[in-house]
Symmetry: C2
Subunit: 143 residues, 2 copies
DNA sequence: TATTAGTCTTTATAAAATATCATAAATGAA
DNA sequence: TTCATTTATGATATTTTATAAAGACTAATA
């Protein structure tokens, strides 16, 4: 079970940072980990409610906020969805995604050049970047 | 009046393409042009309703869809807003934005390197890009 | 003028996200 | 340990953003 391992890593990271990976947050983390690809908050809520019928939208959104702050989860702005991060040890890396509009698959990529190019342009305008949203839409290899 | 000139350019572009810049669309275009920076669909609706009280959400969204298709307007995914495009002569250029989280200003930039870096990464994954969302958040020069 | 493709109006609803306030649990200091 | 503080949760309601569906209208053109 891959997801259990991921959870352990998350627990370790939280312990180090003094962050509290509570029961609800853990549950949401697991659901994200067991889910293939990206998922919307309300679909996640459906899954959560099968375990805890009293869960509400705010329950999910609060858990997702926490997980995103820890870098375990990314929000995909252009499709209002959330994705478990592959490599969440390093918390605030730039996020770059390839989103297939045909099959819905999402691949996270890592391009230093891309990051540098964006920062260079920002610098030129005297702009300081805190957070970047880079989401390419199109057709994946399989489609 | 800058916005009148922009409207003329838009009319010219539409004529060339056989697209119909109707009264509603023209009105929404003008409101966008007169507005400084980005604006949300419902704020835009408020403005539109001062001119045409019968306007509804669908009115605005449809007009925005049209304008976006023509490349006159960009949707900003990460803040659910819309922005008039500076250089809408060339219709489907990549859109790259610097969004100040302090004052709300949005600057559109043009980096060929950025575009190339993104395409290079996509190619490497066998991914074909149709549309890209590049939105950097942070602090602008003035803030 | 009949056709047709596109556009608009209206009503309703869906989807996504947050506000508020009361309660509970964990943490840290006295 | 006890108290105070912070942090998290639960519950209800609402806000914000966006689309669906159905029918009427309009412009272009054949």
């Amino acid at each position: 079970m891959e997801s259990k391992k991921l959870l352990q890593l998350a627990h370790a990271a939280c312990k180090e940072r003094g962050a509290r990976l509570t029961a609800v947050r853990e549950q949401v983390f697991l659901l994200m980990a067991e889910n293939e690809g990206a998922i919307g908050a309300y679909d996640l809520l459906d899954k959560l409610q099968k375990i805890d019928p009293s869960a509400k939208p705010a329950t999910v959104y609060r858990a997702l906020d926490f997980l995103a702050k820890q870098g375990f989860v990314h929000k995909i702005e252009s499709i209002n969805s959330f994705l478990l991060c592959d490599h969440f040890s390093d918390c605030h890396h730039p996020v770059q995604l390839l989103i297939c509009d045909n099959c819905g698959s999402v691949e996270e990529i890592q391009s230093n050049n891309l990051d540098l190019a964006l920062r260079a342009m920002a610098d030129a305008s005297g702009f300081t970047i805190n957070h970047q949203v880079v989401e390419a839409h199109g057709k994946c290899q399989n489609c």
